[in-house]
């Protein structure tokens, strides 16, 4: 009688202990996670103009950023006198397949007021819109953002480069691909003023 009662007590205590330890562990993990999130984000490595950077799928070299009145390379000025922010860069596709996701490689951060999102990528070789990059063929590209009329032109532009990592087998289809976009570098570029009208 007493023996069975003792055994029952032991079981109850051990199960309560297990539940308690599990709860404490869960609490510790969640508080650790929130602590980690509250910590300062890691400082991104600085990328200088003219220096090459391997951002996973892309190798890029940023060149100068400038204000311009042309909406496209070597085009005539936009009729309404709008201003544009143009950035030259060299970009190469390091992956093994033709791709057009280069539009997501650059982010303006902090955002510039009056700068419209979704810039146009121009292929300088053709002076035409860039629709895809072939692997192993680096190209000089001009990225053009439109400035809202009347907006103050920025003096400096901070750009974040997003990199991706290659997975030989993804989790869904076990097919190779590029995943996990993450900021890999930040560049601060001076914006030179619009060129004088000829």
């Amino acid at each position: 009688m007493i023996v069975s009662w003792l055994a029952g007590l032991r079981q109850a205590v051990s199960s309560k202990l297990t539940i308690g330890i599990g709860g404490l562990l869960a609490l510790a993990i969640t508080s650790g996670q929130s602590l980690l999130e509250a910590l300062e984000p890691p400082v991104l490595p600085a990328l200088a103009a003219g220096a090459p950077l391997d951002a996973g799928r892309w190798r890029i070299v940023l060149h100068d950023a400038r204000l311009t009145t042309q909406s496209r390379p070597d085009g005539s000025p936009a009729p309404d006198g709008a201003q544009f922010l143009a950035l030259d860069l060299d970009i190469a596709n390091r992956s093994s397949e033709t791709d057009n996701s280069f539009v997501r490689v650059l982010t303006v951060d902090p955002p510039v007021e009056g700068l419209q999102p979704n810039p146009t990528f121009w292929l300088l070789r053709d002076k035409a819109m860039l629709s895809a990059l072939q692997p192993g063929l680096p190209e000089r590209v001009q990225v053009v953002w439109r400035l809202t009329p009347g907006a103050k032109a920025p003096e400096r532009l901070r750009l974040i480069v997003t990199g991706q990592t290659f997975k030989p087998r993804d989790n869904l289809l076990a097919a190779p691909g590029w995943f996990n976009p993450k900021p890999v570098a930040a560049a601060i570029l001076p914006v030179t003023a619009a060129e004088a009208k000829p």
Partner: protein, 188 residues
């Protein structure tokens, strides 16, 4: 003693079997991937919904053509590879929307979007049964991707359980021509 060895042997065997299965089980993407149909230049290859015959490969450093009423000239950091081919829908109308130049190293080059509007580009118009089209696939590839390549033709870029025609291209291609005018190209 021999019982211990037997147990150990069984364990080792089981581990080997499991590792082997994990390594060599074909992935979902492979099982449901393209169904290859291999051939050579000059052969008519008939897949599920279309037939294709690759005739000739031309290489050029520059292309000139007329697009939308304007003369266009395109140069490249690599080389333009042109494949003259004949496509026919069979048995129903179909869009053969994907042509890929796969280099000997396995790099896949999708047909170049830089020649949009060029005459007789294949893969842009719908094919009708009984009305074969003869025209061009144009690729832009680095020089080292030219030799020993394969032309992949399918109805989409990643065909699933559908025909992908794989045409072996010359292992030793010619020297690229300095300029090819697509308007003066002899297709026949």
């Amino acid at each position: 003693m021999s019982g211990v060895f037997a147990k150990l042997g069984a364990l080792v065997l089981a581990v080997m079997l499991l590792v082997g299965m994990q390594r060599y089980t074909p992935s979902y993407a492979e099982i449901t991937g393209p169904i290859p149909l291999k051939g050579n230049l000059g052969e008519t290859l008939t897949g599920r919904i279309f037939s294709v015959r690759g005739d000739k490969v031309l290489l050029a450093e520059k292309l000139r053509f007329k697009a939308y009423g304007r003369e266009v000239e395109r140069d490249t950091g690599g080389v333009f590879a042109l494949v003259i081919a004949r496509l026919e829908a069979q048995p129903a109308s179909v869009n053969v929307g994907s042509a890929i130049w796969r280099s000997a190293q396995g790099v896949r080059f999708v047909a170049s979007p830089r020649v949009q509007g060029a005459p007789r580009l294949l893969g842009t118009d719908r094919l009708e049964p009984g009305l074969p089209q003869r025209g061009l696939f144009i690729f832009e590839v680095p020089r080292e991707a030219v030799a020993g390549a394969t032309l992949l033709v399918a109805s989409s870029r990643w065909p699933r359980l559908d025909t992908q025609v794989e045409i072996a291209l010359p292992a030793k291609p010619d020297i690229p021509a300095p300029l090819i005018d697509l308007g003066e190209l002899a297709y026949e």
